[in-house]
């Protein structure tokens, strides 16, 4: 359900990581997230394009799995946090094509990328407090993209926002007028980044990571906050109500 393809380009080989579960709006499972994380560990690629097949980038965690077993939610939160760190610490560029929708856990993935392309009608956001789940895990990395003020407002309000608002707060880098242009535009942006001299690119990215103020302890602490209410009565009742 995660497709990993190497393809040649005029900037060297790049890696396409495609979420391939369009029948379930690309809902993410622990295995898919761990496959994504493993695919991001390729030392020989020029860069990564993370995209989704079908109508949307991804609707987030597979709630059916959460309904069946709390452990799946805990595993996905851990893998999500690890994926974001893997993108951020990657010496190569990572671009996400977030077309259509990037919701909840899938929206949290965006915070790890160097650039995020979406489309005007796309819906993005963190509606998980409705389900008794805390999006705290995203707080430190989202705050780096949007600032702490917008991250606070965004994580507490379960409403989804459109691309215009996402670009205003810095959650997305740019928005295409037409949904069918998102993956192609993201591909172009990746080729541009991948064509930079690799040492200068990797050194600059590493230096930004050092100076942007992200504390590894905060990342752990935020993950723990989300994990602390996995399996709460509130979460179980609200997730169960999705199928009642």
């Amino acid at each position: 359900m995660i497709r990993v393809e190497r393809e040649p380009s005029n900037a060297g080989e790049i890696t396409r990581i495609t979420i391939d579960r369009p029948g379930a709006r690309n809902a993410l499972t622990p295995d898919m997230l761990s496959a994504m994380r493993e695919a991001l560990a390729d030392a020989n690629t020029g860069g990564y394009l993370l995209a989704g097949d079908g109508a949307v980038f991804s609707a987030g965690f597979d709630m059916k799995l959460v309904h069946e077993d709390d452990a799946a939610l805990a595993a996905m939160l851990r893998e999500l946090s690890a994926c974001v760190v893997a993108m951020r610490e990657n010496p190569r560029p990572v671009v996400i094509a977030a077309h259509g929708a990037a919701v909840a856990g899938a929206c949290a993935l965006l915070a790890g990328a160097d650039l995020i392309v979406t489309n005007d009608d796309a819906k993005l956001g963190y509606p998980v407090v409705r389900l008794g789940i805390s999006p705290a895990v995203s707080a430190p990395t989202l705050a780096l993209r949007t600032g702490a003020g917008a991250a606070r407002a965004r994580l507490l309000d379960p409403a989804l926002v459109d691309a215009r608002e996402a670009v205003r707060i810095g959650l997305a880098s740019e928005s295409c007028a037409h949904v069918e242009d998102v993956i192609g535009t993201a591909h172009e942006r990746l080729l541009n980044l991948a064509s930079k001299p690799p040492n200068a690119f990797a050194t600059t990215k590493r230096w930004i990571n050092e100076v942007d103020g992200l504390d590894a302890c905060d990342v752990e602490h935020a993950l723990d906050a989300s994990l602390s209410i996995v399996g709460s009565d509130e979460q179980r009742a609200r997730v169960a109500s999705l199928w009642s």
């Binding site: 409705r130 389900l131 702490a148 407002a153 507490l156 906050a225």
Partner: protein, 250 residues
Amino acid sequence: MSEFARLDIAGNIATLTLNRPDKRNAMSIDLLDALRAHVASLAEMGEGGPSVLMITGAGRSFSAGMDLKAVLDEPGAPERLLGSIAELTLEVRALPMVVVGKVNGAAIGGGCGLVAVCDIAVTHPDAKLGYPEVDLGVCPAVVAPWLVRKVGAGVARRILLSGGTMSGTDAHHLGLVDQLAEKDQLDAHVAALCERLAAAGPHALTVTKRLLNELESEGLADAVRRGAELSAEVVGGEEARSRLAKIYGS
């Protein structure tokens, strides 16, 4: 005796109203005491209390800011006033519920400081917001730590050093407020926002807010309290006194 702040609780949503409309809800020691008493009662309710607090102003303004006129000639009073707004901001931030600011009209100086403390602030395009303190010879030291956290250090520097005020549209553009609604739709927009928040899992909201507070807590309380001292020092200086005297016409 008039009630300088009103607290109304309806189900899961509390509303705290600055209620001194004849003075554009200027923050006097009495008004701050009234606000803080209500905030303390909300804090005592803890997680079992309302999950959303909406703060707004009675009448046409949100708040015209610190009522310095009333305290200028009383020794020790500026320190008390500024110390009180500093504590109020810390107490509001520490509340377990999500705090929404409905900026119904002008939010100036300390009034706009309270806006920056809200988790989610909403206003309309024609509202007037800002920090004109430097124009008055005063230092917006209490709000500075909050504004830096709300809009980022670069934008905060520009806003606080430039003084003046801005429109609701510009405040939204700069991130000082999070959402913008047309003036005649502000009430309905904020009501819908509060309903949405109140329908979320209260425990999930509380855990998320607590984590957000923990991530920003380092040095915050010290900076806000030190800001109150610094601000009082500047208010007591000759520059501020002569400028404020001109404005107050005394």
